[in-house]
């Protein structure tokens, strides 16, 4: 059965496959639930993608509202620019993260969800301080503005490249003494660890397929784009659906689609549905730009540049590098390990090692960094990472600079110029034989 006939062009201008449509429906459904919470009496928790304890939140029959996802949705719908200027007028600095400002600007104007209805003020801010300092201040700001109940989960930084028992114990204790009691109090539901185990079983099942999907990029040609296309693939596992049967189903469906593409030796889905002839295989580091997502994607696909692996698809959890799976037998420790292992919580040497492995395993032609002005967690150190990867792999690297959701920081001419120069660089190197590959 051809998936082509089920392709539909959605309102972000992208032609979508069945799995993309399914996850779009899942997200829409979640927004419906969130916006009808005042009527249904459902309690709403807000948390972050890195360190997203979705399985735990579900144990309390609570809904999960992720402000980062809201910012992304507004970015892709080109509404974030105005929200950011509003926040800046309210006194927030030009220098700080545009997710935060988009969220503050959005909330100030009634917090309208993509379905046009207002999102409720969260009943609980689950401040999962994982991999990003700004997270800590973000929820402090929301608490300051809206008086929300807040619970803090401090996830220590894996500075030495490993997690220690001290770190794990610290996180587990916080769960037991702060986070779970707060969830119980807000929801009125008593914590049942067996419910958590059940959700974690589903998580692990989906995670196997997630890894399979991400590793399909190793094929020549790659059936997936692990950056732009990847954004759709990681949706369910990183957001309000990890631990649900729906997510398990989604990844099974997605896996089937990709198996089909491999069998037909098809390249990845592209924004306008046209097939792409794989000319350049790239590993990309850094989040994408959301306000010009489709145009940005086209700059790659038009040139035959396919992203075979990316680090952004590990921002909400790393399942490939060290084989982590959520473990129903050690539920709380498992949640701790999950948080500690998220990409932005890893130290720089580990990030470089991961990228080097991707470059080798996925037979990449080059490495590209999309450096995001808002995000110091990703960005600080990327120039060094780039040089290190060039040295270790002998492959050329490129550096472009954009932002998450502030359209003022995406200059199409500049980005296109750098990208085209880079692709032509690779092309020239190929023709001339290029330098000897690093041993």
């Amino acid at each position: 059965m051809s998936t082509q006939s089920q392709n539909v062009t959605s309102d972000d201008g992208v032609v979508k496959e069945a799995s993309m449509l399914k996850q779009k429906a899942m997200i829409a459904d979640n927004y419906e639930k969130l916006t009808s919470a005042p009527e249904t009496g459902a309690k709403v928790a807000a948390t972050y993608v890195p360190g997203n304890l979705n399985e735990l939140i579900m144990c309390f029959d609570m809904l999960n509202n992720l402000p980062e996802i809201n910012a992304i949705q507004n970015g892709m719908r080109k509404k974030s620019g105005a929200m950011i200027t509003d926040a800046e007028k309210m006194g927030h600095s030009e220098d700080v993260c545009t997710y935060v400002k988009a969220d503050i600007g959005n909330m100030a104007k009634g917090s309208i969800a993509p379905n046009g209805k207002p999102l409720p003020v969260p009943d609980l801010l689950l401040l999962s301080y994982t991999g990003c300092f700004t997270f800590m201040k973000w929820f402090e700001l929301l608490r300051d503005q809206y008086g929300c109940r807040t619970t803090m989960l401090h996830v220590p930084y894996a500075a030495d490249g490993n997690t220690t028992q001290n770190m794990r114990d610290y996180v587990v204790k916080q769960l037991k003494e702060d986070v779970i009691p707060a969830l119980e109090e807000v929801s009125g539901v008593k914590f049942d660890i067996d419910r958590l185990r059940e959700h974690l079983r589903h998580s692990a099942a989906a995670e196997d397929d997630v890894v399979w999907v991400l590793e399909s990029g190793k094929n020549l040609p790659s059936p997936i784009d692990a950056y732009f296309g990847g954004v759709y693939y990681i949706g369910p596992i990183f957001t309000a659906f990890r631990g649900t049967e729906a997510a398990v189903d989604y990844y099974r469906l997605l896996r089937g689609e990709i198996e089909d593409r491999i069998a037909k030796e098809l390249g990845p889905v592209t924004p306008d549905g046209e097939p792409v002839e794989e000319k350049y295989r790239l590993v990309v580091e850094g989040p994408p730009n959301w306000t010009s997502f489709r145009d940005f994607w086209k700059m790659f696909s038009d040139e035959g540049a396919v992203v075979v692996a990316s680090t952004y698809t590990k921002v909400g959890g790393v399942y490939d590098y060290d084989g982590f799976r959520h473990d129903p037998n050690n539920p709380l420790e498992s949640l701790a390990d999950y948080c500690l292992g998220c990409y932005t919580n890893r130290n720089l040497p580990t990030r470089v090692d991961m990228i080097e492995k991707y470059m080798d395993d996925f037979q990449a032609d080059g490495f590209l960094v999309n450096s995001i002005k808002s995000c110091n967690s990703f960005s600080a150190g990327q120039l060094m990472m780039m040089r290190e990867i060039e040295t270790r792999t002998g492959k050329p690297a490129a550096f472009i600079e954009t932002d998450l959701v502030d359209p003022r920081y995406f200059s199409p001419a500049n980005v296109k110029n750098r990208l085209e120069s880079y692709f032509q660089m690779i092309e020239q190197k190929r023709r001339g034989g290029g330098p000897a590959k690093a041993a």
Partner: protein, 389 residues
């Protein structure tokens, strides 16, 4: 006894010296000595000192260091302190430093710890994480173990044990130093004309590079000399400077603020020397004591989480009251996430308490003081004109 001018000239020399001659001399004076560099905002220097090592505060390159190589490591939208710190390393100025500690102040410094590991694999590098949870058996336990890990790391560096007794002695010395620092700040708050902002600043900067014993002696000397001075009182308004806890402003900026008519009666420069608000007990398990002191008696700052929303910003309002300040100047480095993200909340708390404030940004090598003078001057005038209302 030296005059305040002579003492401050001595401090100025230390401040200007980007080659750290004093620290190098200390190291060479006896065999086996080690120097441990640390960046803002807080590290337990007691433990370093107890190992016979010199804690060396690294606060970037200041406005006299041109950054040539450091810019290869950072994009333009990141503050200057990490690039000038890398510049110091690349130009060999930190070759004599045996270890570097990077406190958990923000993601830039956090990632710098990883970069340092890659740049200097033979140096002891530790990211110094502190808890954002302040329960004894949760954050406290975690932190005590972190301190023990730090101790073990330092012990491996010097090849011998850092005994509890040694730490206790160091705790006493640092308690003493902290008291003296607080005395200086108290003097400046009550009689600011006797302790000009630039002098206090340079005195505190000296504490970053001198052994603690020497620094304490220096402060004592300064306090005596300052008391002996007959300096005129000026009709300045009294302000608190907030947000400069990491990348430091150029000296010219600090001078400009005072010249423009503001006495700085409190600030958050170099928080490390006043981080703990109470003396650390010198008996019992020193690690537990240090951990406990951190959990229960830490100052408040942007890099810390405030668990109680109703208390957010209260510390600043209280400081305004304690120091009899009339306003607050938010002075943050450009691109500084902690300072800039925190500012709206602190400003909110000040507004509710009817405390006036202004804000501006700087870089450690800012050259234009004119706008600073104007803003600070106008602020001072406004406070004086409408202060009575």
């Amino acid at each position: 006894m030296r005059t305040t001018d002579q003492i401050i000239d001595f401090c100025q020399e230390l401040y200007d010296d980007m080659d750290f001659a004093a620290a190098k001399a200390w190291k060479e004076a006896a065999p086996g000595r080690k120097v441990i560099g640390y960046m803002p905002v807080y590290v337990p220097r007691e433990i370093i000192h107890a190992g016979g090592m010199l804690p060396l505060g690294i606060l970037g390159g200041g406005d006299n260091l041109e950054v040539i190589h450091g810019d290869a490591y950072y994009q333009s939208y990141i503050c200057r302190i990490p690039r000038s710190t890398i510049e110091l390393a690349i130009t060999g100025r930190l070759d004599f430093v045996d270890g570097m500690l990077f406190p958990s102040i923000c993601d830039v410094i956090r990632n710098l710890s990883g970069m340092w590991k890659m740049m200097k694999p033979d140096v002891y590098v530790r990211y110094f994480d502190v808890p954002q949870n302040y329960l004894d058996d949760v954050g406290g336990t975690y932190y005590a173990e972190e301190l023990r890990e730090l101790k073990r790391g330092l012990e491996a560096l010097i090849g011998r044990e850092i005994t509890d007794d040694a730490i206790r002695q160091s705790i006493t010395l640092y308690n003493d130093n902290r008291d003296l620092v607080n005395e200086v700040y108290a003097l400046r708050a009550t009689e600011p004309w006797k302790a000009p902002a630039k002098e206090v600043y340079l005195l505190m900067r000296a504490g970053m590079v001198l052994p603690v014993e020497d620094h304490s002696a220096l402060i004592r000397e300064y306090l005596a000399a300052a008391a002996a001075n007959d300096r005129p009182m000026r009709d300045n308004c009294r302000i608190i400077l907030q947000g400069s806890f990491c990348e430091q402003p150029p000296l010219g900026l600090i001078k400009s603020i005072e010249l423009a008519g503001c006495y700085i009666v409190d600030d958050d420069y170099m928080l490390v020397n006043r981080w703990l608000t109470d003396a650390v007990p010198a008996d019992g398990d020193p690690i537990d004591n240090l951990a406990d002191a951190f959990i229960k008696h830490s100052t408040d700052t942007a890099a810390k989480y405030e668990p109680d929303g109703s208390r957010k910003g209260k510390y600043l309002v209280e400081a305004v009251k304690d120091r009899a300040a009339e306003g607050v100047i938010f002075a943050a480095p450009s691109f500084c996430d902690p300072a800039l993200l925190d500012r709206p909340m602190l400003a909110n708390a000040l507004s509710k308490a009817s405390v006036p404030y202004i804000s501006f940004k700087y870089a450690e090598n800012s050259g234009q003081m004119q706008p600073i003078r104007e803003q600070a001057g106008t602020f001072a005038d406004t406070i004086k004109l409408w202060g009575e209302a």
